[in-house]
Symmetry: C2
Subunit: 121 residues, 2 copies
């Protein structure tokens, strides 16, 4: 049985060499090498992060900010390079979430079974 | 090259069959099968969770609550079964954190490199 670290490095290699990661990498590099696409993508990211931070801190989001966010979302969705990049990000994120669920299963079962027992006790 | 899911299941198996996980499992089951240890451990957990929730919601923590938490920490630290379980939890948590860093490295490098470039641009 290989040890946990060997298996983790094998998984890292599988991620790095996957079609999904390579396609994300290409899409990201294509956007980053096109200065107007890069600017639009970074403005979109900055707007999303700023709104999230405001929401988390319970600050009010103005109508102007909502409108600005709506417009930039519309722009990036209509940009084939950026919308393609976002699709590829989402695709890999789903896989990474699946992987995370798979590898935390032993711990979940250990504690989860006991929670079930608690309800029966 | 094995695919990402195959590698993830291999890693799950490596975790499940590791000495670290088996020892945690044994320590957990020993505590859970001793009703007074189980009660103490669960009271400790409940106290920690309640305090964390209060802190996250910005609620005030009373002197009585701090004192109660201090006492239960002292009790569990002096209980060999529970303190052993907590050591084993911490040991596996460190490994799981390492694993998480290893498998998120490809994505970190993809986005991280660009952040470095941003500073140079
Ligand atoms: Ca239980
Ligand atoms: Ca950049």
């Amino acid at each position: 049985m290989p040890n946990m670290y060997d298996s983790a490095y094998d998984l890292e290699k599988a991620i790095r060499e996957s079609e999904e990661f390579k396609e994300l990498q290409q899409a990201y590099e294509a956007v980053m090498s096109d200065s107007s696409a890069k600017k639009m993508f970074e403005e979109f990211r900055d707007t999303q992060i700023a709104l999230q931070e405001k929401q988390m801190q319970g600050e009010e989001i103005t109508e102007e900010e909502v409108e600005k966010a709506r417009k930039i979302v519309e722009l990036v969705q209509e940009h084939p390079g950026i919308s393609g990049l976002m699709d590829k990000e989402q695709r890999l994120n789903i896989i990474i979430n699946d992987i995370s669920r798979i590898i935390t299963k032993p711990l979940e079962e250990l504690y989860g079974t006991t929670s079930e027992n608690d309800q029966l006790n």
